[in-house]
Subunit: 490 residues, 2 copies
């Protein structure tokens, strides 16, 4: 599949929806045609339905042959038994980019449906159709408002998502967008008739608008190709993967869902070890990880400093760090002495974790002073700032929120940092203060989490990613040396 | 420590706050004295402060000797160096129940503070004082509105919490109360000068108002005693424990927090194996686990049926179940055939997980029919109901919410079940519908979670608890048999 061919599909100048329906009189729901229209697509949008003359004021066409121009993306939303004929029509009219929304093929496991899948596979292959699906939601490109589901996200950005589940395509992009993560391309590719994850990967590898690739996989067609591709792409664009159906029960569910054979756990263990791709375990986990990989630069090690408020809380953050295989080096005595010079002893811990309420309300002086000391301490590579809203005066938090991004960037310089916060009080003032802080920090590009575990795990993934890259460099250097040695020996 | 002695402390007819302060003119904050007053304590409350004649209209006394009656609970809130004298006064006036809020002792690690801790320890031991703390928030008994922190929860119920962290005492009770979990006693015991976790455990074991005991431990004084007690109590009252500072970094943080030596991981592994106590890994985890153990009865095995909405979602729920060591037995062919008789094939999975949107909107007929089939299937012991709000018509959800508790109880009978839900759409209607559903179900006593992982983990813990109990019975039976055999042989 060439880059240009898929690019035309992702940036279609024209879209036809075969099986477009008039809106439901009660709910005004008008299926995929309606969704694309409501999203605000500015290209030529054609409803295909022989039984109506127009849909929502747009002229309807009886079939593909009747259309006035070639179509960059055909969306098929007719009952399964009618799909083969639509594909034949696509081939006859020279429209090769097809998204089949319709379900009821391989994933059902039923003989009639398997026969039908075989039939459409033959038509597609014989006519070199580029088919997304069947049994999927297709593509979403927020930049040009192409999207087939209800209320797709509008946040444009450098993350792309390839998903074998249509629901996950919606859920992940919705959830991630709440962290300010913007998307370039979202693809729900279902049963993967002709276009599989690897085809989209090749495209995204070259897509200048994609910087991070996230994936939800149930099954794969060509494991070796996927491994080679991911290994290569991951060097420049982090690839973050959620594998569904790893376990016996999940595998069974996958078979019913997209008709895939979920791979064995030992294959996937080797896959992640060899490619250096980042493995995550839920959609939420994927969003949290993406946030830190997107916002923070390289880390040179796993040493973390925890700055927080509250004794029990910083013990919990420390335990979360250790569980995430991060180190919490004790600050050296000289640094502790310097911290003690401006942080009072009573109720404050200064060894790392640093539990020091007063510094958070002295954002001009003792807070940046603390960050300077951390920046200058070589055993510390990253920072977690843990804020317990219930114990902070809500009046002072907005000041902290607006100053924190710049102060942290100015004083920690290249050392990655994330923020986490908590509020459990039933008085909503504290939670609302936290939500405002979170919003302001996220808008300023700071990763913010509501759970210590998510903060620690995300930094751990960042460290894993950069360690793998660095290790690769070392290996390549080692290989060069060997080649030199061989040369010398010959 | 006798039950009666501690019971007097937990149900005090009189409380004196030594070091009570007048409210801050700006914030109206009046420390512990103010908190107890605002909470609505109905017993005799005495502020002790030689410098003022009254606080918030209540007559202040210069010292303990001046009080008109013996005091059931003395709360000490004076600077650390003044604490020894207050304790001597307690001894002289015969008031033996003391909560020392003041910090600045062992936990600082500083020589002067360690000396001070030794001094108060001697006074307490020589005079048989029952001391909670120092460095802690003391007790909270919602039933009689005793509580020293700001806005303690008001939900009365059968759960008690022993915590070495004052912050955790507040956070856990606040968080758990949002799930409708009510509390009998909450104890923040800090440095554990004379009263340690084991003293409180002995009391709670006999407390008729405590059915589940939750604990946050950093260090322990007498591991053997704790093990023996927990092993015994757990047979009738589930004991759920979060151990802080297990890891190297956490241990370090613990030392600075409550001056405890956090135990070794191998000790704790053996501890949980031998006692059968439920181990959790965060406060949130503890609340989620408590919810299911509190609301659901015995399970006879680890077989789970998942009923849900959405292909990708049920794969995720299945994977979460497997990760939590639960089984998802495939429904037997006969059962599948019966399900197929009322669940259409297209878009619905019926093998377990069961992904069948239509049944949730046929709560009178096909939903209970499905539950009956599950109830009659012996390989299924528990049920997870997974609801994706974004794909459900918000108009129909309230009907589902109000019918679900009774329908599930009537048709699943004794088989435990939990609900989880998700909404990621940015249109808040769906999330608000979920929040209302959650509220109604929680009020009806149904465990509800916003994460598949929490739902699966909670059922797994329920299964672990009952398996351990059953295993113990088998062991005891085995022992009896042996005794009989010995008798026969002699």
């Amino acid at each position: 599949m060439s880059y240009a061919e898929l690019d035309r599909m992702f940036y279609p100048k024209s879209i036809a929806v075969v099986g477009a329906k008039r809106p439901d009189p009660e709910s005004d729901f008008a299926g995929m045609f309606g969704s694309i229209q409501e999203y605000g697509y500015k290209g030529h949008l054609y409803p295909i339905n022989p039984k109506v003359s127009e849909i929502r004021g747009i002229k309807a066409y009886p079939n593909l042959s009747a259309l006035p121009e070639p179509i960059d993306l055909i969306i098929v939303s007719v009952p399964a038994p009618a799909v083969p004929n639509v594909l034949r029509e696509c081939a006859e009219t020279g429209n090769k980019n097809v998204h089949i929304f319709t379900a009821g093929f391989k994933e059902t496991g039923e003989p009639e449906a398997l026969k039908l899948q075989k039939e459409i596979e033959e038509i597609a292959n014989n006519n070199h159709l580029r088919v997304i699906g069947p049994n999927c939601m297709g593509i979403c490109v927020p930049e040009i408002r192409v999207g087939t589901w209800t209320e797709p996200i509008k946040t444009v950005g450098p993350v792309s998502f390839l998903s074998q589940s249509g629901g996950h395509a919606q859920d992940f992009s919705n959830y991630a967008a709440k962290f300010g993560i913007g998307f370039s391309k979202i693809v729900s590719f279902g049963n993967a008739l002709t276009l599989d994850s690897t085809d989209f990967l090749e495209y995204l590898a070259d897509d200048p608008k994609t910087k991070i690739i996230t994936m939800y996989l149930e099954g794969i067609k060509d494991g070796r190709k996927l491994l080679t591709l991911v290994k290569d792409i991951n060097k420049t664009k982090p690839v973050i993967i959620l594998k569904g159906g790893l376990t016996a029960s999940g595998t069974k569910a996958v078979a019913s869902h997209t008709g895939s054979m979920a791979g064995e756990e030992h294959f996937w263990n080797a896959f992640f070890k060899q490619t250096g791709a980042t493995r995550v375990y839920s959609l939420e986990d994927m969003a949290h990880t993406t946030l830190t990989l997107l916002r923070m630069g390289e880390t040179k090690g796993r040493g973390v400093a925890v700055l927080g408020v509250g004794g029990g809380v910083v013990v919990a953050v420390s335990d979360a760090c250790s569980k995430a295989r991060l180190d919490l080096p004790t600050f050296p005595p000289r640094m502790q002495k310097l911290l003690r010079s401006f942080i009072p002893s009573a109720g404050n811990m200064i060894k790392n974790p640093l539990d020091a309420y007063p510094i958070f309300f002295d954002i001009e002086k003792s807070f940046p002073q603390t960050l300077d000391l951390i920046y200058n301490e070589p055993s510390i590579n990253m920072v977690i700032i843990s804020l317990h809203m219930d114990w902070m005066d809500p009046k002072f938090v907005p000041k902290l929120a607006s100053a924190l991004p710049d102060v942290c960037r100015d004083h920690l310089k290249d050392k990655p940092f994330v923020v986490c916060w908590r509020s459990t009080r039933h008085n909503s003032t504290f939670k609302n203060t936290g939500i405002k802080l979170e919003k302001e920090l996220l808008e300023a590009g700071i990763p913010v989490y509501r759970s210590f575990e998510h903060a620690a795990t995300s930094l751990s993934r960042l460290a894993d990613y950069h360690f793998f890259q660095h290790q690769q460099e070392v290996l390549i250097e080692g290989f060069h040396l060997k080649a030199d040695e061989l040369k010398l020996a010959s």
